[in-house]
């Protein structure tokens, strides 16, 4: 990154041709595979360690931790897909020089489908400690679960998940494919195709994220429902992705790529988006809370009851309130903060941690008065081991292609606009 007054090297009033795009965008053949290998090994260590713990402490603990951390890494990739489609639907020029990195994050979705398969074990094998509604006897005895079983049953769950992952993988693959094709041909038709796809693509993404959040996360408390649930998961996902995006761009720039194609102007805009989505997340989270708090009726407060029931969860709730909303709101408010590389990277690390905490708050508490009551303490070793495990594998999946693909959509017709991009 560079200072705004440094006119020659900042892309300010600089002719696009004076930046050597080929040098800027060449694959990171040494650093990327190295980082991917380290992350992959750490990931495998984490998963194996967690599996050992699962063997000792019980598999439902293992699978709940797996669900938590899987929902976390998946949300980052979904945020990437949302970002890419959003850039195409509004025909954005400013983001062309950073879009490839987001495309690579979204392209983690097909491999992530494989990592989803272990989560089908507790569903098919019927582990009520993970999903209560997989217990047939319990469902038969419970009128509410029985009436929901037309939707919430194992075969239909698997069919729906197949649809979600199919749609996401296709969308992510298509975006990356057309964009890399354009690197070869330089034709505008690829951009036009992506623009045509993006509006229905966003619609599909909205519907699938909503239903995935309902199926995978809301059904942990099958008696409970919240109509804003899908938006809640989505808003946190975008915050998490933007934080990851900032870290990846900073990593690539440190490794000597995109040094002139990505400027403080781009970081500034990513900071603005992160600021906006932090507020959006808080707005959605509070909308859900306010209605349930005000009505105070038993079938709704069951979700908040365990989350405000003891000191640990009250502390987590307050940490989310201040750490996921108040602190980033104030920290990202000023223009200077968003343009200062070190500060923005620190904020991104913090937001990634807060996004994990948000999903921990969603997944970890046991359903209130459930038929399969709690096992163990509030934070399991598997929660952290699988954060290392799935997080490591996710980083490996995202970073590995950076050693083989161009890091910039180098022949996109709107690239000059991105290189000359400037916030007023």
């Amino acid at each position: 990154m560079c200072r705004p007054s440094d006119a020659t090297s900042c892309g300010r009033n600089v002719n696009a041709r004076s930046i050597n795009i080929e040098v800027e965008s060449r694959p990171l053949t040494d650093a990327a595979p190295r980082l991917a290998r380290i992350a992959g090994v750490l990931g495998l260590v984490g998963v194996v360690g967690a599996a050992l713990f699962g063997f000792l402490a019980g598999w439902d603990v293992f699978f709940r931790s797996y669900l938590l951390n899987y929902a976390y890494v998946l949300s980052l990739a979904l945020g990437g897909l949302f970002f890419v489609l959003l850039q195409h639907v509004v025909r954005a020029g400013w983001s062309v020089s950073i879009r490839r990195v987001a495309e690579l994050v979204a392209a983690a979705l097909p491999p992530l489908t494989l990592l989803f398969l272990p989560l089908l074990i507790p569903v098919v094998a019927g582990m009520p400690g993970v999903y209560e509604w997989t217990d047939r006897e319990l469902v038969q005895a419970d009128p509410l679960l029985k009436s929901k079983s037309a939707y919430l049953n194992v075969p239909f769950f698997i069919i729906r998940c197949a649809a979600y992952f199919g749609i996401w993988s296709l969308l992510a693959w298509f975006c990356l494919w057309q964009s890399t094709e354009q690197d070869e041909t330089g034709a505008a038709k690829h951009t036009q195709r992506l623009e045509r796809l993006s509006a229905p693509g966003l619609l599909l993404l909205a519907v699938t994220i909503t239903f995935f959040a309902i199926d995978a996360l809301m059904s942990l408390n099958p008696h409970w429902y919240s109509t804003i649930w899908g938006v809640y998961y989505f808003s946190g996902s975008v915050v998490g992705f933007l934080a990851l995006f900032v870290l990846l761009l900073a990593f690539l720039q440190r490794a000597g790529r995109l040094t002139h194609a990505v400027t403080s102007e781009h970081y500034h805009d990513l900071g603005k988006l992160a600021f906006g989505f932090v507020v959006f997340w808080a707005y959605i989270a509070f909308s859900q809370y306010l209605l349930i708090w005000y009505a105070n009726i038993p079938e709704e407060i069951v979700w908040y009851r365990p989350r405000q029931g003891d000191t640990w969860w009250i502390a987590i709730s307050l940490l989310l309130l201040f750490g996921h909303f108040v602190a980033p709101l104030l920290a990202l408010m000023s223009r200077g903060a968003k343009r200062r590389s070190g500060f923005l990277v620190a904020a991104a690390v913090w937001l990634l941690a807060m996004h994990w905490l948000d999903l921990y708050y969603v997944v970890a508490p046991r359903p209130w008065q459930s038929g399969h009551a709690s096992s163990g303490g509030p934070l399991h070793a598997t929660d952290l081991l699988l954060l290392l495990g799935l997080g490591g594998l996710f980083v490996a999946i995202v970073v590995w292609p950076m050693g083989r693909r161009a890091l910039l959509a180098k022949r996109d017709p709107r690239l000059p606009e991105a290189l000359a991009h400037e916030n007023v």
Binding site: R12, N13, F286, W293, Y294, N296, V424
Partner: protein
């Protein structure tokens, strides 16, 4: 963007400035950079759309508007918080000097705490946004000396294309470095496609007379409605109030004891036809309807009502609806109305009777039925609201409640006595 602004009206013939036309934002940016570097201060640029980098090229200092927006946003936030605290949570008793119409009222809503942050957040949020948004718009206008209803450049025909596809740079004649010939040459050298002399006075004498007259007339007229309202609120009148829709004021109806010529006897009140009763008025069973047998309070429930579990549960439900607000769910006389009265220190408040009092316990069933039907002391009658069978059901539940507080071991079924140990 307004780098400068003409200050005074001058003779219409004097040269006011030089206007240079450019055909691309790039050319304008380059020219602006040169003009800046040449040391001019009284100049401005005009473009059909915001041009990135123009603030840098013109060396316009960074706006301080964000601080104003932030400050007013915080002020809006605190206003929302304090307003709701004052209106609902600050008890008037603690602020005796404040006039009544400025005091809040600690009104209990949905059983939430009187000062309840989650409920206040929507209003706080709205006021924060409102104050910040108004600060943005009004502050932006003020910082740019807007609105500015007239600009001398409008008199230059070529300038019309500024809203379409041309880019202009205007150097004011009052700039200390301004020299008609030299500045013109500089602009020419910067690549201007045309240079115009601006000769009209920058500021004619303020608003046109017609506009001023219209404003005065409308402002005066606008005073009348509030004056009329104020007069009506402060004066007394013997006349009935004016109703715009009179349907509710003038209805065809007849009061008791009035005449009505539609009937042969001329009376509006119609006597009951001999030998008839209104529907549902046949209360021939004194036990069921008055709680009496042979003129005495009945000791038992009416025989036609079967005392079953469902009957008592019906009574429990009705009790929770009609009775528990005062007598409490347990019947101890500690319902929400009582709690609230204690909280507000209501003068002369008498606690509702506990249903576990020896007196209530010893009353005959019919007597208590009568109390529910007709009320007693400050307890209102419920005969009109609760059908007779439900009143008896409530009574059955009250008896069950009493038993629950005064049970002996013999009252427990023998097979379940073990659970008590």
């Amino acid at each position: 963007m307004t780098a400068t602004k003409p200050q005074t009206a001058e003779p219409a013939v004097a040269l006011q400035g030089l206007l240079a036309e450019f055909d691309s934002p790039g050319a304008l940016l380059a020219a602006a950079t040169q003009v800046r570097d040449a040391g001019f201060t009284g100049w401005d640029t005009h473009t059909p759309f915001p041009v990135h980098g123009i603030d840098h090229a013109m060396d316009i200092r960074r706006t301080r508007l964000p601080w104003l927006v932030f400050g007013l946003g915080v002020a809006g936030c605190l206003t929302g918080l304090l307003m709701q605290w004052w209106m609902n949570a600050a008890s008037p008793a603690n602020f005796p000097g404040v006039p009544t119409f400025l005091q809040g009222f600690d009104y209990l809503i949905s059983g939430k705490p009187i000062f309840s942050l989650p409920a206040n957040i929507p209003v706080i949020f709205e006021l924060t946004v409102l104050a910040a948004a108004l600060a943005t718009v009004i502050g932006m206008l003020a910082a740019n000396n807007l609105p500015w209803h007239y600009n001398a450049l409008f008199a230059v025909p070529r300038f019309r294309r500024v809203t379409n596809d041309r880019f202009f740079l205007c150097i004011d004649a009052r700039d200390p470095q301004f020299d008609a010939a030299e500045t013109g040459a500089l602009l020419k050298q910067l690549g201007a496609t045309a240079i115009e002399r601006v000769e009209t006075s920058a500021r004619p004498g303020g608003l046109p007379r017609g506009v001023i007259i219209a404003i005065v007339v409308f402002a005066t007229l606008a005073l009348f409605p509030p004056l009329i309202v104020a007069r009506a609120r402060l004066s007394k009148s013997a006349q009935p109030r004016i109703a715009l829709v009179q349907d509710m004021d003038n209805q065809e109806r007849f009061r008791t004891q009035q005449a009505n010529l539609a009937f042969a006897d001329g009376r509006a009140m119609r006597p009951q036809i001999p030998g008839t009763l209104a529907r549902g008025d046949l209360h021939s069973d004194p036990h069921l309807y008055q709680g009496k047998t042979d003129g005495e309070w009945a000791l038992t429930f009416p025989p036609q009502l079967e005392i079953t579990r469902a009957f008592v549960q019906r009574g429990q439900q009705r009790f929770a609806i009609f009775c528990a607000s005062c007598h409490g769910l347990g019947g101890a006389g500690d319902g929400m109305v009582h709690q609230r009265a204690l909280q507000r220190d209501t003068p002369g408040w008498v606690q509702p009777t506990s249903l576990h009092d020896q007196l209530v316990r010893s009353r005959a069933a019919g007597h208590l039925f009568n109390t529910i039907t007709n009320g007693i002391r400050s307890m209102p009658p419920y005969g009109d609201q609760i059908p007779p069978a439900d009143r008896w059901a409530i009574l059955a539940y009250v008896r069950a409640l009493e038993l629950s507080q005064d049970a002996r071991l013999e009252d427990v079924p023998p097979e379940r006595r073990d659970e008590l140990r």
